[in-house]
Assembly symmetry: C2
Homo-oligomer: 382 residues x 2
């Protein structure tokens, strides 16, 4: 397979964007990415979006967005893997260029979540409709079960969960594209409304609108055209059962372990060589579990690691320098691509106040549902 690189990125500030529709958000992010890459050709468009059908009654986003960008008649496809839709869009763009079929590809993610009164129903479509949703459980409940068991098995403390949110909000204050740019305290998290015991409101990522894009090209093309490439040295995906009750164990996410394992093998690096990671902290417990399942910490020690500051900007392995889903916001289809935007900025030294010193290798992990799908990419400075 040919070598593939990210050569530009663009995103809009996530938030409750009442004045922007799905298509206007996407076009804004895409034009920024195209400008940033400085390209005058796009051979194909891959768009990650989870559930525009349920949220805004609009499918067929590939063609729609290619047209609104003035890019028709290029091939344009929408990809979906619940909240990992952005990650799979990045993966398909990677394979398209890797195969030699395309030279320059636009990968985007978008979700318009505030124009509906059915957000919880829409998100629940990522869980097993027949065996989970029908019985009334939604995602806060599913992740609460994971949190409760993690606390019982490993002694993870309620405060450890809160510290994930506190850290990510702190990082968010340094990210001009973050939905929330204010610090919060452990006391505020512990005093916020109970959503699904033990998870409280400030343990949950918000409902956001947003769009994010990156431009990919073959490494060869990037070099020949004087671009600033960051090489994608691994792209891996793995799946698991949708329904939590079908798994042998729920304090570890099999798809995360497997996608991480495959990505490390493909890149030829281990967790110790990763300089920072953007991971899928849809709930605070998710960041703790994922940080263990990707091998940054031993199983059960993710909570302790947060407590000891190992995942802060100057820690052993900075996690979610962007603010993560918790503070940057979580427009679901956009999230996986926004992680790639953050990694590109970090690896090209453009992350301003939140810049991680000497960052050369970054890992991004995006997942769907309660970990039924997980996509890991590893990126390296050329």
């Amino acid at each position: 397979m040919r070598e593939v690189a990210i050569i530009g990125c663009g995103m809009i500030r996530f938030g409750e964007l009442w004045k922007k529709s799905l298509r206007t958000m996407f076009v804004e992010a895409a034009l920024k990415a195209i400008d940033d890459a400085g390209v005058d050709r796009i051979d194909a468009l891959y768009v990650g979006c989870m559930t525009s059908g349920l949220f805004v009654e609009q499918e067929h986003l590939g063609a729609l967005l290619a047209d609104y960008l003035g890019l028709a008649p290029i091939p344009a496809i929408r990809l979906e893997s619940a909240c990992a839709s952005g990650g799979v869009a990045l993966r398909q763009g990677f394979l398209d260029i890797g195969s030699g079929n395309s030279e320059v590809v636009l990968v985007g993610g978008v979700e318009k979540m505030t124009d509906t009164d059915r957000v919880t129903d829409g998100l629940a479509s990522a869980a097993d409709q027949e065996y989970e949703v029908f019985h009334g459980v939604t995602f806060p409940g599913l992740y609460a079960m994971i949190a409760r068991l993690h606390m019982e098995h490993y002694g993870t403390k309620r405060e450890d969960l809160a510290l994930v949110a506190v850290k990510n909000h702190k990082h968010g204050t340094m990210n001009p594209h973050a939905h929330f740019q204010r610090e919060i305290t452990v006391d505020q998290v512990l005093a916020s409304s109970l959503v699904a015991d033990p998870l409280r409101l400030l343990d949950c990522s918000p409902v956001s609108d947003g769009a994010a894009c990156v431009v990919l090209s073959s490494l060869e093309w990037a070099k020949a055209h004087g671009k600033t490439p960051v090489k994608i040295i691994a792209s891996a995906m793995a799946t698991d059962t949708l329904a939590l009750h079908q798994r042998k164990e729920i304090t570890t996410l099999g798809s995360v372990v497997e996608s991480g394992r495959k990505a490390y093998a493909m890149a030829g690096v281990g967790p110790d060589q990763i300089d920072f990671a953007e991971v899928h902290d849809c709930f605070t417990i998710a960041e703790i579990v994922v940080s263990e399942d990707l091998g940054f910490f031993k199983k059960g020690e993710g909570g302790k690691a947060v407590r000891e500051g190992l995942t802060g900007l100057d820690g052993k392995i900075p996690i979610n320098p962007s603010g993560g889903l918790k503070a940057k916001g979580h427009p679901v289809g956009a999230t996986g691509v926004a992680q790639a935007v953050e990694a590109y900025l970090q690896l090209t030294g453009r992350a301003e106040k939140r810049q991680i010193k000497d960052a050369r290798i970054g890992l991004i992990q995006n997942m769907g549902g309660s970990g039924a799908s997980s996509v890991v990419h590893i990126l390296e400075v050329v």
Copy 2:
């Protein structure tokens, strides 16, 4: 790019399948395809589905179906391009193997359309929500405008449209997987309920449940393992505006012309070398327009060609030997893959009563909406 082949296929009989859910339909079709290919490995799953969110409130189909097939933790992704979702799934499977990333891939399409009272709303999400659907137009209305203008510009007759349905129903009687397996007459079409003038009920493809799958591998792997490969010699996709009013011309579909042009160039063959075609006859007028836009007939002569029998099983270019969307049924996400199933059966001499003599090269064309996206594959006997 590596050479890629289809090595097995399977589908269920399309219809109003009250006793089968989305997942059971898909598993049944997938197991048939895996059995047919005789493989004991699947490296990745690509599923085409248009709008399972709106129809059955279930997204995240890649992981769900991989799990129900016992294939987790393989990578599994759902692709969407409205009614061309099956075609884009095939294309992504092709690129995955072509890149060298995977060796054996399962490509499937599925749609469960009869478990909702919102089929028309759901399908309308393939049109432009803000500029078409909001104003009340649905797909029969959009294609009716195309039909009316085609009749005015080119003298296409109302009876020509009817003859497309009559031909495809005749073909359907020879296909054990077709939703409708009975012949109809021109008089019956002309006497059926008016849906959107000039289109009547029997000009419209039905609302069907169904699933279809093919197994792909690299040609090299297929040969080394004694499979029966049919080579994919072209995969091309093109897009256009979602909204009909934004196009300069509506009696020709730009995405079909462009995807056909690119496919012929990639395969190194022209329309005269195609032995049969499966095209997207969501409405009778669509088959006529597409047969012109793919170069089988001059612009405006598609109606005459049907009248003269050129598109029948023993005509110059047999079109929709399977019965097409009109008679075989149109579970939207499954349609593009079902076309590949038909092509594989025809090119391996297994199409029974509807077998086209000496078929060596087949073309399949799948489109979304009123032609905002079109995917063309060309297949050849090895």
